[in-house]
Amino acid sequence: MESTLAPLTAKDFVTDQDVRWCPGCGDYSILKQVQTVLPELGIARENIVFVSGIGCSSRFPYYMETFGMHSIHGRAAAVASGLKAARPELSVWIVSGDGDSMSIGGNHLIHLLRRNFNVNLLIFNNEIYGLTKGQYSPASPAGKITKSSPMGSIDHPFNPAALALGADATFFARSMDRDPIHMREILKRSNSHKGSSVVEIYQNCNVFNDGAFEVFTEKGTKKMETLFVETGKPLVFGDGGNKGIKLDGFTPTIVDLTAGASANDLWIHDETDRVKAQILSRFFDDPKMENHLPRPFGVFYEEKRFCYEDAMLAQIAESIKTKGDGDLDALLRGKNTWKIN
């Protein structure tokens, strides 16, 4: 008897390729967390596929000792759709950036989500074009000064959470590169969701957009600016949890728990509530704005809905049941034939 194989470790997912991201890039942390989480998921390494488009994030597959495809700009979702339709049993991960997935690949993104293929989509959002050296991206805030917008970008930015939920994504979560524990938790949740799971990861581009998410990650500001949501728990943030969020009709309002507001009146997070998830996705204020809402992190929404590939297989099974297994000779023959002797 052979001894059972040793369980995989993070090291088993490291390739022999040099990682070529800039020193200090947030992508390193994401790579590390993914490599750490994968062995815990119990999926055979050969059944895992990483598919990416173009961009810094999209070099990801080269660094994962699994199957992988570094495809073309914006099209990872389309490639992954075909792969998943062909091989539903595979664990398919799409790695993309904000430019890749929301600009050139915007169309494929929304269609992937409405079809609900069972894949995990990681959007590394750094609100900038890194690989093409620093132009504004569809996620860059208006007024952003970059090489292609010296007077400030006049584009209204995409809100990835609202975009995903607007396209009827069945799972949306947000995490950040500087919070490894949270990220690992979210990655596991994303994997256990059956359907298209969107994980937006705030990722720092220290060369072209350094500090874009600093207020959410730095000790001094993090408490006041971030809101970690968890099902069954009230929406609480601030120093020592001194602030809460209450729903006034459909309007979220910040209340001060140290100034008489009751914890019992707070919004209790429920990730199955579509309406509340939509409201939560709109917590997208500029941190410089007065009385702005904090930025939420965690699983916003999860819903059970049939997956495209399952429906596809079901139709094939149904067709075989009613018509019988395809008989090639009968097909070639058709219905009406005649003989010439």
Binding site: A77, S81, L83, H108
Partner: protein, 616 residues
């Protein structure tokens, strides 16, 4: 008085009317019946791009030409012997194609003042009333009135009743050509099985048309076209796009691979999707993508997973797929791209035929991204050509273009369908599982065909990464090394060239193996060239015909063949595309013969050119 029965060897009928008059249905019904009775046939549907072009206008005319005979038929006919017109515009648009002495069957209701005006006849002119049609035999029938009378008690509204006018015409033509209506009766019963009232109404009108011919003494001639003397065998009728779909399914079934078809609807390729989606019981996965790019990318994803990824489109869609086809070239995985050509550039002539995408298939990618190209020449030939495209894609790990065009995609002909046991085997070899102690897997290590291993996810020990960035030879790692890039460019080109070792040699279709003139054609010009060459040979001209299926790479003996003739003439429905490739490769002074009108060549045009060249 009973009508006399005149026997004809072959007849071409043109059905023409308003798009919406059911012209295509009338045409296909007559075709099916003619085929079942053993005639050889060839058809040419010709319709406007608009679903419902303005009624009664010249732009709205839809036509269906059918050529059937007791002799072998290779084209829908240069002109027609019988022209059925539902209105004045249909007459005006098609009269020039009617042979002198031919028959016109006109629906008089379509020649009222309004219709004449829409057809742009001068005020007070009605071609049925003046003597302009004297050189033809004109039969005037008030189809609308008789259809309405036949259905007077049906309880149906006028609009609905008028929709079955085409059945009256069909019934009449069946009488005229001495056909029984069983096939159409069965068809109508099946088509409207959920609406018994419509079955009854259509059958009533169909029979009314037939009986009208029989009981009216106006028509004193009936025609008979006997069964053709054709190759022995069992036949069915088939359209090009349908044959393409069947070829894809057959290749998948025969090789035991799963077929994944990712596509985006476009004229005239959509019928491939329609046909494939009917056959899910073959395990066929059809994916109607959000756009052309997603369509080809999904097929690439499926091929990466070990399925046979296929996509289909027409020129504008192929343009969008270009970047992804380059990716597949770099990934070196199987991909079949069906290009059902139409007039271009841009949206061009969506419903008209052209052969103008050959250079797009050959060169339409950034960098040097060679792909194999093969081309079908008749509706039924789409089957074997599509099957070959799959075989080459799988065995050589490469994108393959399957070229067809609107003319053969929509046209139909009798087909001796093959038995699955007689189809060429297709070898699929996925790379095998490896153990940790085995040497490291090299995803770009090549076999004797220069194909790399097809290593699919789910196979232990083969974990590897592919992508669009230049690959290092054998390892597949990213490489910017100048020498490696040049080597890889050459290897990818050589891999395509080597396909020539695995395809049949070029043959001469007709005529001597050496001589004065060779007509070299490709694709849907086959029928016109064939007919013209048969005629020219019969008249003693020294001419031969070769038709190329394998366009990249060319068959190994093609150059040899070209130099066996004093002159090479290359007719193409474009400004000269294959001729560029042939001149470039063989430095032969071939003469181009080109037509870019969205219309196929007539055999007369080719014949005249042959005569012109050989008379010099």
């Amino acid at each position: 008085m009973s009508a006399t029965l005149e026997t004809r060897k072959n007849v071409a009928i043109m059905f023409a009317g308003d798009s919406g008059d059911g012209i295509q249905l009338t045409g296909t019904q007559f075709t099916d019946t003619a085929a079942l009775l053993g005639n050889d046939i060839s058809t040419f549907p010709n319709f406007p791009a608009e679903i419902r072009a303005p009624q009664g206008t010249l732009a709205g005319v839809s036509g269906y030409q059918l050529h059937f005979g007791s002799v072998e038929i290779f084209t829908p006919g240069d002109g027609c012997d019988v022209l059925v017109v539902m209105n004045a515009a249909a007459l005006k648009a098609n009269l020039k194609g009617l042979h002198t002495g031919g028959i016109i069957i006109a629906n008089t209701d379509g020649f009222d003042a309004k219709n004449l005006k829409l057809a742009k006849y001068p005020d007070g002119v009605n071609p049925l009333k003046d003597s302009s049609l004297d050189k033809y035999k004109v039969y005037e029938i008030d189809v609308t009135k008789m259809t309405r009378t036949a259905l007077a008690d049906s309880g149906m509204g006028t609009k609905e009743i008028d929709r079955s006018k085409n059945m009256f015409v069909l019934g009449f033509i069946y009488w005229m050509f001495n056909r029984n209506m069983d096939n159409s009766i069965a068809f109508l019963k099946d088509k409207f099985k959920k609406r018994p009232d419509l079955v009854e109404a259509n059958l009533k009108v169909l029979k009314a048309g037939y009986h009208f011919g029989e009981t009216t003494e106006t028509f004193n001639a009936r025609y008979e076209v006997k069964a053709a003397v054709m190759q022995k065998g069992e036949y069915r009728n088939i359209m090009g796009n349908q044959a393409t779909a069947l070829g894809l399914i057959a290749a998948a079934k025969k090789s035991g691979i799963e077929l994944f078809f990712g596509t985006y609807p476009i004229t005239p390729a959509s019928d491939i999707l329609h046909e494939l989606s009917k056959h899910k019981n073959f395990g066929v996965k059809t994916f109607q993508a959000e756009d052309e790019i997603a369509a080809v990318c999904s097929a690439i994803g499926a091929s990466f997973g070990g399925s046979l990824g296929v996509t289909a489109s027409s020129g504008p869609g192929i343009a969008l797929k270009g970047e992804a086809i380059g990716l597949a070239t770099m990934l070196e995985i199987p991909l079949v791209i069906c290009n059902v050509q139409r007039g271009g550039p841009s949206t061009g002539l969506p419903t008209k035929t052209e052969q103008a995408d050959l250079l797009q298939a050959m060169y339409g990618r950034n960098g040097e991204g060679p792909a194999a190209i093969i081309s079908a020449s008749t509706p039924s030939d789409c089957f074997e050509t599509a099957y070959e495209a799959c075989r080459i894609a799988i065995e050589h790990m490469t994108p393959v273009f399957f070229m067809s065009d609107g003319y053969i995609a929509n046209g139909s002909e009798p087909w001796i369908f093959p038995q699955s046991k007689d189809l060429k085997p297709i070898k699929i070899e996925y790379a095998k599982e490896r153990n940790p102690e085995d040497a490291k897997f090299l995803p770009y290590k090549r076999d004797e065909k220069l194909a790399r291993p097809w290593a699919i996810p789910g196979t232990k020990g083969l974990e590897h990464r592919v992508g669009g960035i230049e690959k290092e030879n054998e390892t597949g790692n990213i490489s910017y090394d100048p020498d490696n890039h040049e080597l890889m460019v050459k290897l990818r080109a050589e891999k395509i060239e080597r396909i020539a070792d695995y395809v049949p040699l070029q043959t001469i279709d007709n005529g001597p193996a050496k001589g004065k003139l060779l007509i070299l054609g490709w694709g849907s010009t086959y029928g016109s060239i064939k007919t013209a060459v048969i005629e020219a040979l019969a008249e003693g001209y020294d001419v031969a015909h070769a038709h190329v299926r394998y366009l990249n790479p060319f068959p190994k003996n093609l150059g040899e063949i070209l130099f066996n003739y004093e002159t090479v003439l290359m007719p193409e429905i474009n400004s000269g595309q294959l001729i560029k490739l042939v001149r470039d490769k063989y430095l032969v002074p071939a003469i181009g013969f080109n037509k870019v009108k969205g219309m196929p060549f007539t055999s007369t045009e080719i014949k005249e050119k042959i005569v012109e060249l050989l008379k010099k």
